[in-house]
Symmetry: C2
Subunit: 301 residues, 2 copies
């Protein structure tokens, strides 16, 4: 078990931003934002202001992840300051930062960014190591034990994602679901999770959050595995049928990893067991990622 996260000073949340459509072909978040725009009272909480953002409307209209480049990789500070970057997503990232960033018109303390995945990630909450964010994730898992918590190594602020423009919050990844479709059950589960986040933040502002007396389990990102490829970069194998949809399940050395098109099984060769996640995510083929690998850890909050 890792050492308990230090309790930071009380954080007072004044403005929360719920984001959908950061990837234009992930309909769950996009349509949830449309719903919250239509029924703003749903996202209202007494102790803070809730805003919504439909992040990449052109990509949504085109039913594509992005127009020119992945918007969720456009928020590194040097890139936001580099006016030579003029793709649609670079322009959009600067607009979003000017609106909601620390020096923006309506700076926000918390961002919840809504995504979907073709991987069997269930309801995944992705956070960095900040104690406030880990406590948020632990609380979400306490309310809904089916939630998986996936901890990233770099801080939100150092990352390239949209949430990096503010220190607190989480990215929600829900799957498996195909791109450019709505699945009512997944929509409702995502909606419920967003409301649990808002309720938690409201309680937190009121000093009502209690410590959890049980350690909570999470998965820490430690690396990625690519598909076997030929010299031209073409993939030579598929995720093995025994591994497909087995996100967050233990993979031991010798277990089947890939199946080549010729029918040969390639097994996992490393010396230590891992927990793979984002197995066979469609958008990661071009990023050289067949799956991410994590270690299971426990922590007292």
């Amino acid at each position: 078990m890792t050492k308990p996260a230090q309790h930071s000073d009380q954080v007072l949340i004044s403005r929360v931003l719920i984001v959908g459509g950061t990837h234009g072909n992930e309909f769950t978040g996009a349509y949830l934002i449309k719903k919250l725009e239509h029924y703003p009272a749903l996202a209202h909480r007494a102790s803070f202001e809730t805003l919504t953002l439909f992040a990449n409307p052109q990509a949504f209209a085109a039913k594509r992840r992005y127009i020119d480049k992945d918007l969720n990789r456009c928020f590194r500070r040097p890139d936001l300051q580099n006016l030579n970057l003029t793709s649609y997503e670079d322009l959009r990232a600067r607009e979003i930062d000017r609106q909601f960033g620390a020096k923006g018109e309506t700076p926000v303390n918390v961002i919840v960014d809504l995504h979907t995945t073709t991987s069997n990630m269930g309801l995944t909450v992705m956070v960095d190591d900040h104690p406030f964010n880990l406590r948020l994730a632990a609380h979400l898992k306490a309310v809904n034990p089916s939630v998986n918590v996936y901890a990233l190594p770099e801080s939100r602020r150092a990352a390239a994602g949209l949430p990096s423009i503010c220190p607190f919050g989480c990215t929600i990844e829900v799957g498996p679901i195909a791109q450019s479709v709505l699945n009512a059950e997944i929509f409702q589960k995502t909606e419920a999770l967003v409301h649990t986040v808002l309720d938690y933040l409201d309680q937190s502002n009121q000093g009502k959050n209690v410590s959890l007396d049980q350690p909570f389990t999470f998965y820490r990102h430690v690396g990625t595995i690519d598909y076997p490829r030929n010299g031209a970069g073409e993939i030579q194998a598929m995720v093995h049928p025994q591994l497909q949809f087995k996100d967050y399940q233990l993979l031991c050395p010798g277990d089947p990893l890939f199946l080549t098109f010729a029918g040969e099984t390639l097994s996992y060769k490393a010396s230590t067991p891992i927990y793979p996640v984002f197995i066979n995510e469609a958008a990661y083929y071009e990023k050289g990622i067949a799956m991410c690998i994590t270690e299971q850890q426990e922590m007292l909050i």
Copy 2:
């Protein structure tokens, strides 16, 4: 039960075309064509020549269904003859017709076109009413009872799809699977079905096909249902959770059909039961189709 299909005169098959990548983001067929190009002996049969076609390479490279328009709607004869149609897919359709059509360089008798879907269509074989094609479908179902046969009302030749350039064959639709991913199990099932088709055609050429003594069940297309939309065309509801993934299952009047974003269930209002298929196919949102509706029928072959 519909009347038995008339046995047509013996059809001699001299050239078969296996097609994948007609939609660039349906990877199963695309990679199966790559495999057959790499191992051509796999598709070799004694009594005919087997060719392969990677139909829309630019859309595959872009990981999109199409570049300008749906290639599988570009093959109406007047469109193929209309040189004012100059989109990438229009040009590609004319190339394909010039290569493999009746007046082409290497005309084919049979086309098997490989597709995937986000709907739970299992292994679906789509055919028109020609007795040769119905017998092919019935045979595929006899070999693998999990195969679903979906009969379309218009003849292949009158349709706009790629297979319309020749009279015989079928379209294979496999799902559910997300766009732009490979699923090894679905890949292997599709591959096995293609080999069953080739084996059947080889037996057929040798006069070895026997009549099936049991009637076979298939689903005849009778129409489509769109999502509820507002005046701007935006969808107002999702496929109901109780209907999602229930392709080929009976839907009765009064059964849940859609769930609005506000949480209201909309039920199926017509007077007769139906069997919906292509429920929540991603590519059909833009075509105004939430699902296709079919009637279950039986036929002796």
